[in-house]
Assembly symmetry: C2
Homo-oligomer: 316 residues x 2
């Protein structure tokens, strides 16, 4: 019998937990007791789900680690941000695996959904192996399935997003069970037999996006300086067959401003300094000051105080 | 009567000259006397054209400036490279305009096809105005139509490439004549009323490409260091809806390694330092050393001396 626990109920974990619980007993676990209290009342403060979305689900929300003892599938969706030195902060992942090493039983499965740099999932797998006396991909199973959730984008609902799933086991029964579980999440699963490849794929998706937005931001700024119509420039350039049209803007969220530092961290550990990967970060970080500066000069010039929103959308 | 002169008969100028000369008297002018001697014999050393392509054309090749005295349309296709300090080298453009200031007559038209940074075409237009006593866009006409030729790519023949054409005149007759001339070059002309916008559009097309290839090069190198299958990573990442698949490789040619420096030059003049725009340059310049290094270790390991080509294509 499949009993699932989802660790971390943020914008990644909650949609997964609600999807799994359509069919399987699911414990939604989070250390944030306030969040759990609200979820127990069918309230999602992230406003991604309505009260009705919690109905008819086999879900139980908890902050108590004892409540997940019966689970055999652990889906890790905890945050993996960067610290003040812009290095990966894996502390939430560490806490989850530290709890798991005591809970894990023979034949259990751990699936990491959090963004990590290549090598992290297996590093934690080895940690479990060392501390539980269970052998990886023999006694317990390790998988990586990077989240691709696009918060706030209603055109990209979870089920419609193609999902990568990687596991290094050849156990056919296990793979079948995983397929049964994950088909509740996405219509199309792309399998990989190599976890590091999936970990890399995840970060480069966001790195490419961050970099390209940065380029458009830089072009926006230089057009502004030279008094050239940015939109017209993009209209013209877009007539080239291989030009990729991207909107400039403020880059926020949990992924884009973070993922370049994840890849650069592992690269640094391997004595290779990434240049292009990190190049977008400085430009995109500068954008908020640029927007603020433009806003100030605009309001001053026009003696307007309240049209922030109109100006903001007009610019971006 | 329309008489055309094409300045510079490289990979940009020659195809244009051959296209124009299907219908209009055209002088193909180049200071390279050896090139002219060959072209007179219907030989294109760039191997883009066969002898038969020169047949039934109203074309005359020359290195003698006196031969273009009857022309009234001057199409400037001279090289605009960078110098040793990686700054724009506009010397060929300067020479062309220096010759033009003595040749230009009332109602003549100058069309720049060379890649420049925003502002350059009008800067040279003002130079003509100052030295010829003819008024820009009144007595003579100034246009910018950036070349988008893709040397060696047979799927992108000149006529099939959409072409930007910008001129700041409102003279309807002149615009009609331009349309008659340029429809020989491209099936689709995109008009712009602002030269600086077209100049910017041209450089950003190539900057974007250079930057994205650099990112893929960097990912290729880090995958290699971490012993991760690059092709598999790209296969996985490509399943995301907004991932842009690009081939890593050596970046050469006349545009990609040059254009980032053109935009950064004008940006520097305007006291704004470009970061993202230039980020690809270092990575792409490093690639030849990387390929060489990999090649050496491959041949050493496999004791192979002649399989260069196979290895090279396998890697890229």
């Amino acid at each position: 019998m499949i009993n699932i626990c989802v660790f971390g109920l943020g914008y990644v974990g909650l949609p997964l937990a609600l999807s799994f619980s359509k069919k399987f007993n699911t414990v939604g676990f989070d250390i944030n007791t306030k969040r759990i209290m609200k979820l127990k009342k069918n309230i999602d403060d992230n406003k991604e789900f309505l009260s009705k979305d919690f109905k008819n689900k086999k879900i139980f929300f908890s902050s108590n680690i004892d409540d997940i003892k019966k689970c055999n599938y652990y889906i890790i969706c905890v945050p993996t941000p960067i610290n003040q030195n812009k290095e990966p902060d894996l502390s939430a992942l560490k806490k989850s695996f530290s709890a798991l090493k005591n809970l894990i039983k023979k034949n259990d499965t751990i699936i990491v959904e959090s963004t990590v740099y290549p090598g992290v999932t297996n590093m934690f797998g080895n940690y479990i192996e060392k501390n539980s006396k269970l052998k990886k991909n023999k006694d317990f199973y390790l998988c990586y399935s990077p989240e691709r959730i696009n918060p706030g984008d209603n055109t990209k609902k979870l089920r419609k997003i193609d999902k990568i799933f990687s596991t290094e086991t050849n156990n056919g029964k296990k793979i079948n069970d995983i397929k049964r579980i994950y088909k509740l999440v996405s219509k199309k699963i792309i399998f990989s037999k190599n976890i590091a490849e999936s970990e890399t794929a995840k970060v480069i998706e966001n790195i490419q996006r961050d970099l390209n937005i940065a380029l458009f931001n830089e072009i926006l700024i230089i057009c502004d300086r030279l008094n050239i119509n940015f939109n017209e420039v993009i209209r013209l350039a877009s007539t080239k067959w291989n030009f990729i049209k991207i909107k400039p803007g403020l880059v926020g969220g949990h992924c884009l401003p973070v993922d370049p530092y994840y890849l650069s961290h592992v690269s640094k550990l391997n004595k290779f300094k990434l240049i292009t990967t990190l190049a977008g970060r400085k430009t995109n970080s500068y954008m908020k000051y640029y927007v603020l500066k433009k806003f100030k000069s605009f309001t001053k010039k026009n003696n307007i105080k309240k049209k922030f929103k109109f100006f903001f959308f007009g610019l971006l």
